[in-house]
């Protein structure tokens, strides 16, 4: 079981590292999708079936499309990143931001009580229980997320639906 975890971790880290090092934005985006799929594999390993499939459905299916479309629509012509290494200010800022995020994550991981045990063969929480939890105690959170997404969707429609003058023949 530990071997499988190691392989999954290597795949995730390898894909993420390759995504950062690649000079081709599309390759980076696709490698990122690979890393997300690896995270889904990790959820499966941990016995969280529902979360794993939701991860695939949302990240590999939807978020990947958003990333790829954003890359395609914002970049004209060349898709390899033309960022130079020369700017010292940029490097310092990057290290500060990365260090801050990293410190926050490490602090959160160290601060949370980790219950280390080997995963059970069957999921400990069935889909039905997750559904009951989402509809019961966590219903407000679900509603808030729904409202938030609706607002985002409406905003996107407002931004995108600019009335353009009809082009005449």
């Amino acid at each position: 079981m530990m071997l499988a975890l190691l392989i999954i971790a290597l795949v995730i880290l390898g894909a993420a590292a390759a995504a950062m090092l690649s000079r081709n934005l599309i390759h980076s985006a696709l490698l990122l999708v690979g890393a997300w799929a690896g995270i889904a594999a990790f959820y499966l390993w941990a016995g969280a079936e529902f979360v794993a499939f939701a991860q695939i459905l949302v990240y590999v299916g939807a978020v990947s499309m958003v990333v790829l479309f954003a890359v395609l629509l914002t970049r004209q012509g060349e898709t390899s990143a033309p960022v130079g290494y020369d700017s010292l200010k940029r490097a310092v800022l990057a290290f500060i931001v990365a260090g801050g995020v990293g410190g926050l994550l490490v602090g959160a991981i160290l601060g949370s009580p980790l219950d280390v045990h080997l995963p059970a063969a069957t999921p400990t929480l069935s889909v039905q229980q997750i559904g009951a939890l989402l509809m019961g105690p966590y219903a407000p959170a679900l509603l808030i997320v729904g409202v938030l997404l609706t607002v985002a969707l409406l905003g996107a429609v407002v931004l995108a639906a600019v009335d353009q003058p009809e082009d005449t023949p």
């Binding site: 390759h27 999708v33 079936e49 459905l57 590999v60 999921p123 069935s126 889909v127 023949p169």
Partner: protein, 407 residues
């Protein structure tokens, strides 16, 4: 019943031949091999059935020339052409021996990966379909979710094919194909959710079992025979057609106007792989439709239950495929604006209403006596009235058609 469990007995017998350590591996490899063989052959004969049936629909003969090669081991030469049934194998040899041309400017890695990814992921869906009472390759608590998760990667593969070809027509066509896939994923999933609501599980074998039994001994308890199930099944059929790029929704590769879209720069076996993936996707979606709406492996009548359940499943599957071929021979191709409008303005609202319909059905499960008729009437009204109103409104201001650049 021995015929029912025969595949299991054969499997256990083969698995027992191997040492204990390897048994779980052999067990799963055997399932994979059987799925690949059965559905590979099913794909081959779907292509010949499609060509023959389309031929008949267009008043021609279809392929009937390919016979058997002269087999030197046979003492006689088989003269009969077998109605051209060996055509798919001739096609396979042709596709395998064709030259593989890759454009000079193409992104070689993505260009190569796209057909591999699309075939691999289109096969994954078969893992959770209950092919028979005991024939379930993988039993998952969230099988339905797995099925849709496995299907999402095909979008990535289409993007890889379009972008990796380094051809603007490929890229544009891939974008159109993605717009279509994303538009129709919503009605597809929304058409399935009512079943989950009523049955209360995401497990496909349980959904199939929930449809057993008959009303008055004649009407099977299949979901398609309820008002919400019928509406859901129709929405599912349309969305499945669009998701698998079938006519009348085959715009991404419209052969008469678009030189095959994102497949433009593919040749030889890679092209064949895309077609394989398309048919696998269609077969898997049909299998899902059979499981969810058409009673899965259940027999339609009690006296027909002596036929093994997996044969019933395959018969229903073949029926669905023939229906899809018939649609292809009948309907005309849509424009891209008609296609997206059909999805967002028609199918999605109807599917959402159908969800409310299913909720009503689930809440009134306890009604009996004359109230049963009220239940059916209300449910049917929720299906029919919005369909008529929306249909009228959508087609009302669209005719007669005006052209901006032509008269």
């Amino acid at each position: 019943m021995s015929l029912e469990t025969l595949p299991l007995i054969v499997r256990d017998w083969i698995v027992a031949l191997f040492p204990d350590v390897l048994q779980w591996l052999v067990h799963h490899l055997l399932s994979i091999a059987v799925i690949l063989t059965v559905f590979g052959l099913f794909f081959a004969f779907t292509t010949i059935a499609e060509r023959k049936l389309l031929g008949r629909l267009q008043n021609r003969l279809g392929p009937n020339r390919a016979g058997l090669p002269k087999l030197s081991i046979l003492p006689f030469h088989l003269k009969h052409k077998l109605w051209g049934l060996s055509q798919p194998f001739a096609d396979a040899v042709k596709a395998l021996t064709k030259e593989d041309v890759v454009p000079d400017a193409a992104d070689k890695v993505l260009h190569f990966l796209a057909p591999v990814v699309i075939v691999a992921f289109s096969l994954l869906g078969f893992a959770v379909l209950p092919f028979g009472r005991h024939l379930i390759p993988v039993e998952l608590d969230a099988g339905l979710l797995y099925f849709f998760a496995a299907g999402t990667a095909t979008e990535l593969a289409i993007f890889m094919a379009g972008w990796g070809s380094r051809n603007k027509y490929s890229l544009l066509a891939a974008m159109r194909a993605l717009a279509q896939l994303i538009s129709y994923e919503l009605p597809l999933i929304l058409s399935v959710v009512p079943v989950v609501l009523v049955v209360g599980t995401l497990s496909l074998p349980d959904i199939a079992v929930a449809q057993s039994g008959w009303t008055f001994g004649v009407l099977p308890h299949w979901h398609v025979f309820t008002p919400w199930g019928f509406a859901g099944f129709l929405i599912f059929l349309v969305a499945a057609l669009a998701e698998s790029n079938r006519s009348p929704f085959d715009l991404p590769e419209a052969e008469s106007e678009l030189i095959a879209g994102h497949l433009t720069e593919y040749s030889g076996f890679k092209y064949a792989l895309f077609f394989m993936a398309e048919y696998f996707g269609l077969t898997a979606l049909s299998g899902l439709g059979v499981t969810i709406f058409l009673g899965g492996w259940q027999a339609p009548f009690a006296f027909l239950e002596f036929i093994p359940s997996y044969l019933w499943f395959m018969m229903k599957l073949a029926g669905m495929i023939v229906f899809f071929i018939w649609i292809r021979g009948t309907l005309l191709r849509l424009r891209i604006d008609q296609l997206t409008r059909l999805s967002w303005q028609f199918l999605v609202p109807l599917a959402l209403l159908n969800l409310a319909n299913a909720a009503f059905w689930a809440l009134t499960a306890g009604w009996s006596g004359p109230l049963v008729f009220v239940r059916w009437a209300v449910s049917a009204a929720i299906v029919v009235v919005p369909f008529l109103i929306l249909g009228r409104r959508l087609s009302g201001d669209r005719a007669p058609r005006t052209y901006r650049y032509a008269s």
